[in-house]
């Protein structure tokens, strides 16, 4: 092959690469458009949001966000935060020891337990919501944040156990053995070896669980009404706006979305592991 032909081919392949890059960027921006548009519209006046030709340039205002807070979103935010926070705490307290008993000092037939937990994750909420509603009604726990906390903990427990188990299984056995030969007891090797190695895994697990609790809708809508209602329930108030209040609605949606967006972007390298419960790394 002549040098000229070789160069020509390399040039062609580089041009194709550049074209593919442009295509990729266009596709990515298109897919991001609804989210970008949501944030943009949140900073508009209602007249700008309701124009027939979409406005890309306008005078930004915080008015819509102020209105959303006037409607009292902070109570819902607080409920969401507490439901997520406390359920994560319960999940961590239950899942950490369980993962330990499933990987580092495993019980007999530990795989069976793993699959039992997994199967509870696949059981649809629809199957349990009716009796939960009836029981909650009878013991006065409807519209009570504690109920959501317990249910969210149960929802995330299998995920957390599978993820933590997969992280613990990665701790090299030799390290633990060396420590125990050096006379390190359970507490010492827990604090000095397991915990430091596990910390990134715990953080990733918590972020994934947080995404699921923060965005949860079905249980929140079915089991809460006013005092314990979470952010998704707040959004229900905009359902029948029929295209009016697009700006205010976008501001509310942006506030509702932001915490999980930040958490997810932050943990994106561990996202896939969480979504497949540790099956894909």
């Amino acid at each position: 092959m002549s040098i000229a032909a070789h160069n020509r081919r390399r040039l062609a392949s580089r041009a194709r690469g550049a074209a593919l890059t442009v295509v990729t960027w266009i596709v990515a921006l298109l897919i991001f458009l609804p989210v970008g548009w949501m944030f943009l519209t949140g900073f508009k006046q209602e007249v700008d949001a309701a124009s027939h030709t979409p406005k890309l340039f306008f005078e930004p205002t915080l008015e819509q966000f102020a209105k959303v807070f006037d409607r009292g979103i902070e109570a819902y935010l607080l409920n969401s935060l507490m439901a997520s926070g406390f359920s994560l705490l319960i999940v961590l307290l239950l899942a950490l020891p369980a993962a330990y008993a499933l990987s580092i000092r495993p019980v007999r037939k530990w795989q069976d337990s793993m699959f039992f937990f997994l199967s509870t994750r696949f059981l649809p909420l629809a199957a349990a919501v009716v009796p939960i509603y009836v029981i909650a009604r009878d013991i006065g726990m409807l519209d009570d944040l504690n109920l959501l906390i317990v249910l969210y903990a149960a929802m995330n427990l299998p995920l957390a156990i599978w993820m933590l188990q997969s992280f613990m299984a990665e701790i090299p056995l030799e390290v633990l053995e060396a420590a125990s030969l050096d006379g390190a007891g359970f507490l010492v090797s827990m604090r000095r070896i397991i915990m430091p190695l596990l910390l990134p895994g715990i953080a990733a697990t918590m972020v994934i669980c947080f995404i699921f609790t923060w965005n949860e809708f079905f249980l929140a809508v079915s089991l809460t009404s006013t005092t314990a209602a979470t952010v998704p329930v707040f959004l229900v108030g905009f359902v029948s706006s029929e295209g009016l209040f697009a700006a205010q609605l976008s501001a509310a949606a942006a506030i509702a979305t932001l915490p999980v967006l930040l958490a997810g972007w932050f943990a994106q390298n561990k996202l896939i592991r969480g979504l497949t419960m540790g099956a894909v790394k």
Partner: protein, 315 residues
């Protein structure tokens, strides 16, 4: 409890290789190993399994919470009623249609996205971040935004865009409610598929690809003969996991169409919600719940088998 006394039992699962001890102490050890697992096990059983048993019991009762006369046992009547009712059959059909089309389309879109992002190019990290975003957005919020800013016939971006070409777009949510919902589902779930398939692509060994290239295979042949078979397990995993979550879709339907127009987008979860919390027919709703579970169990069996496979290979 110390690891120091018996380091050889780490990760051995109490295998026959563990040191022979007196029977009593072995049983002690077994319980000591089990103890950290028990709280989680008990919690999962109480919160997830007991309600399910109650669901079975309620499904055999005739019980409307609005008439305060309590439950009466009616046997399998609820199932017969549910099974023969047209709304229920429609809901099943709609659920299947939604799930199959959303899963298939998001696997295809996810595959294209994964192939695009797998190359090295300028701004790859940013593009990846942009692409996973739809999956992170609260589904209820996403549905609202799509409904108000995109599908709306007068102010929506879609019809504005069509208008540029002189096309008068329809009122999407009343003309094509199902397709609109599926579009939003695909938008949300393609990133999920992309992430799984990207992990698959990155795990593919480089040498066979190089060899094929040297042998003169073109990109499409390499994809069909080498990459696709390699990705098979990842596609399966994505399909099954996606199906399990998409079958349960509720927020999108609730926010975008509220099951309508008519019942045209009322899928099983939404139908169950209406039965339980609008009509307060506890018996019917419980029977519906059981049906949903049976469907999910069929799907989950595939999922569990797949996990077992991946799990075994990882050890």
């Amino acid at each position: 409890m110390t690891i120091a006394t018996e380091p050889e039992t780490l990760r051995s699962g109490g295998a026959p290789g563990s040191p022979v001890a007196r029977r009593g102490s072995r049983r002690d050890d077994r319980w000591r190993r089990r103890a950290p697992l028990l709280p989680a096990l008990v919690f999962a059983v109480v919160v997830t399994q007991l309600p399910f048993l109650l669901t079975i019991w309620y499904s055999l009762q005739s019980w409307n919470l609005l008439r305060d006369d309590g439950p009466t046992f009616v046997g399998l009547q609820n199932f017969a009623l549910v099974w023969t009712s047209a709304p229920f059959r429609d809901a099943i059909l709609i659920t299947v249609l939604f799930t199959v089309s959303a899963v298939v389309l998001s696997v295809i879109v996810g595959m294209l996205l994964a192939l695009l992002v797998h190359r090295k190019f300028f701004g790859r990290g940013v593009v990846r971040t942009l692409l996973i975003t739809p999956f992170l957005v609260m589904p209820a919020a996403a549905a609202l935004i799509w409904k108000t800013s995109f599908f709306n016939p007068t102010f929506g971006l879609i019809n504005w865009f069509l208008g540029l070409f002189g096309v008068q777009g329809p009122d999407w949510l009343s003309t094509f409610p199902g397709a609109s919902i599926v579009l939003v589902m695909v938008w949300q779930w393609s990133p999920f598929m992309m992430l799984i398939l990207l992990a698959g692509l990155q795990s593919q060994p480089e040498e066979p690809l190089e060899a094929a290239r040297v042998d003169g295979a073109n990109g499409f042949q390499i994809f069909r003969l080498l990459t696709l078979p390699h990705l098979r397990r990842y596609i399966e995993l994505g399909t099954v996991l996606g199906a399990i979550f998409i079958v349960q879709t509720y927020d999108t339907v609730y926010m975008m169409t509220n099951g309508g127009p008519g019942r045209s987008t009322t899928n099983l979860p939404f139908f169950l919600y209406q039965t339980a919390f609008r009509d307060f027919e506890i018996g019917h709703a419980a029977a519906l719940g059981i049906v949903v579970v049976v469907c999910t169990i069929i799907l989950s069996t595939f999922a569990l088998r797949m996990f077992a496979k991946v799990f075994k290979e990882a050890r």
